[in-house]
Amino acid sequence: MAKVKYDILESTCVPLPLENVDTDQIIPARFLSATSREGFGDNLFRDWRYKKTGEKNNEFILNNSKYGGKVLVAGKNFGSGSSREHAVWAIFDYGFRAVISSFFADIFMNNALNNGLLPIVINDDHLQKLQDLVLKDPSTKVKIDLEKQTLKIIPTGDSVRFEINPYKKECLLKGLDDIDYLLSMKSLITSFEKTKSLEI
């Protein structure tokens, strides 16, 4: 099934300067009972966005109207813990299309790439500078060019190159689907099964 192609993204950012943000914070387990992929954005960072009383927590950055945009600037080791893909669905459903950090947990990274949410890894220094800039000036825009693998900080003109697996890059740019690709390989998989059963 064709997916949406990943275009050049130009947007303001939401800073979340915390380390080790795990997937239980992104979407708490008690919201995982749904059987579809939609609607998880309402409960993104639920226990940080809302107080125990159910009121909005105005101290949390997502509730600060100054900040908005399609890019989440996160802290180190983002997305650790549970493998729940619901975490990526929630971030995407909320409206983000890219997450920037200096370090992502492995399963989160795979899940993000499989859902058209671009995980961008930059070094700690660059991340700190971007965090500071965005916190100070919420109108700060970035331009993400996946084709060129560059993240440009528009007001400063600084440009940072980021790495991405070439196969995954092509899938995102062309809107290709991994499962279609694997399905096209069925005869190869079947013959692999035959040789393998002879082996053991």
């Binding site: 099934m1 300067p17 915390l18 380390e19 080790n20 795990d22 239980d24 914070q25 708490p28 387990a29 008690r30 995982l32 009972s33 749904a34 059987t35 579809s36 992929r37 226990d47 125990k52 802290g75 180190k76 080791n77 650790s80 813990g81 549970s82 493998s83 729940r84 893909e85 619901h86 990526v88 370090f103 947990a105 492995d106 399963i107 795979n110 899940n111 499989n114 859902n115 697996n165 070439p166 196969y167 995954k168 991994d178 499962i179 690709y181 694997l182 399905l183 390989m185 069925k186 190869l188 998989i189 692999f192 099964e193 393998k196 082996e199 053991i200």
Partner: protein, 471 residues
């Protein structure tokens, strides 16, 4: 031939195709599914109009979202009930074996897989659950995946996966009394941090590891993900083979001795190269407890909370936020601190040996009045063992209630939630904010430490309660 690690041997023999500059197409021998992370994958198959490619290689259970009381009654929560029913429907429709709620083989996916003989050395195993690393104890490549990858496996029995780097962690020497395999892995994580092994697959080696039982090894491999590793594995040996020989049956295998001779070849070659190697001494490990909100924030039970997470520097915002959530201060000691709840169970410590360990300290004593205890066996089989070994009686006499199997308070999807602000000594694997319920404060520890807290009502060194012969 180039020397290979155990990991390389299994991985390389499962690569259907290597994509240039891309991931490998990896064949999966065993796929476990549960109610929470599978429904969207089945929806994907429906939308594509395709069947499950190899239904016999997938095994299903309901564990995450089920009650641990009155399982014979209808599940009260509508969404949970719907999710469990969806699993039943999907398994029936696609011809997948299901050990669902109330089935005699039901239990936590990472407990039943091994105990029913579905997890075997040399396999590649995935499940939409990060603690799939548990199965690595048998010398398998086992790791957690997302729902899109669950759909890949259902559709083609393969996933696209980049090959991780390899790390060797050696633990040599003897453990002191009162120190368990849970303490070994918690010690390692506290040393290398909750992200210290991200990007790696870990092989655990050394005399301290090789002397452990299969159940203790599963506890270690289970928590590999808590230091960021994709998984962890241990080379199969006589202890592994003995465990498998004692199982009543192993699906698909008639003569286990033939298989064992193959499995013996799996161990890492002596000259095999790892990307990173670490060593620990078993005799320097003490009973461990966590003080923060990630599993890397752990310390010896008689220690003090560090003043900062930055060596000789100012504490990070995350560190301060974490201690604030826990109601702790830097430099504080935890021994003697009040405990409100004790949870024993989960895929980390919900096996029979864990309950035997718990019982060693509980036997002949009474539960502290201020403690609410949740004792949750990992499977129906473990529940039966508790009864046949007289442990149910021991727990009852000490004032404990035993629940029915499930993931329970480990992730608190069901009613087994720890109330906000309360302290829970938990034998599970994660102490994240709100993991055991909104506002709950989790202190991860071994079953022995949980038992000591359960009878005293405060954080207690389990070594005070065990004789020298038990270690």
């Amino acid at each position: 031939m180039k020397p290979k690690t155990l990991f390389d041997k299994i991985w390389d023999s499962h690569v259907v195709r290597s994509i240039a500059d891309g991931p490998d197409v990896l064949y999966i021998d065993r796929h476990y599914i549960h109610e929470v992370t599978s429904p969207q994958a089945f929806n994907g198959l429906k939308e594509r109009g395709i069947p499950v490619f190899r239904p016999a290689k997938t095994l299903a259970t309901a564990d995450h979202n089920i009650p641990t009381k009155d399982q014979h009654l209808q599940i009260r929560d509508e969404l949970s009930r719907n999710q469990v029913e969806k699993l039943n429907e999907n398994c029936l429709k696609y011809g997948i074996e299901l050990f669902g709620l109330n089935h005699s083989k039901n239990g936590i996916v990472h407990v039943i897989g091994p105990e029913l003989g579905y997890t075997l050395p040399g396999m590649t195993i995935v499940c939409g659950d990060s603690h799939t690393s548990t199965h690595g104890a048998f010398g398998t490549i086992a790791f957690g995946v997302g729902t899109t990858e669950v759909e890949m496996v259902l559709a083609t029995q393969c996933i696209l996966q980049p090959k991780p780097k390899k790390m060797k962690i050696t633990v040599n020497g003897n453990l002191h009394k009162g120190v368990t395999s849970k303490d070994i892995i918690m010690h390692i994580i506290s040393e290398i941090s909750a992200s210290g092994a991200t990007g790696y697959f870990v092989e655990y080696c050394g005399s301290a590891i090789k002397s452990l039982s299969m159940e203790a090894r599963m506890t270690i491999c289970n928590m590999s993900i808590e230091m960021g590793a994709r998984g962890g594995l241990i080379a199969p040996d006589e202890i592994t083979f003995e465990y498998l020989r004692e199982l009543p049956s192993i699906p698909g295998i008639d003569n286990i001795n033939v298989s064992i001779s193959d499995w013996k070849k799996l161990g890492s070659d002596p000259e095999a190269i790892f990307d990173r190697e670490l060593e620990f001494k078993a005799d320097s490990i003490k009973p461990m407890i966590t003080y923060g909100t990630n599993p890397g924030m752990g310390m010896a039970i008689d220690g003090s909370i560090p003043l900062s997470d930055v060596k000789n520097g100012k504490a990070s915002v995350s560190f301060i936020k974490s201690l604030d959530y826990m109601g702790f201060k830097p430099g504080m000691k935890l021994l003697g601190h009040q405990v409100d709840y004790v949870f024993i169970g989960s895929c980390t410590n919900g096996r029979i040996e864990d309950f035997r360990a718990f019982a060693q300290i509980i036997k002949g004593r009474k539960k502290a009045a201020n403690v609410t205890a949740l004792i949750v066996p990992g499977s129906k089989k473990v529940e039966e063992q508790l009864a046949s070994e007289g442990l149910l009686e021991t727990f009852k006499n000490a004032g404990f209630e035993v629940r029915q199997p499930g993931c329970s308070s480990c992730l608190a999807m069901n009613d087994d939630k720890i109330p906000a602000g309360k302290y829970a000594v938990s034998t599970s694997n994660r102490n994240f904010e709100g993991r055991q319920g909104p506002g709950a404060r989790t202190l991860l520890a071994s079953p022995l430490t949980a038992a000591a807290a359960a009878i005293t009502g405060v954080i207690t060194d389990p070594r005070n309660y065990i004789s020298e012969k038990i270690s």
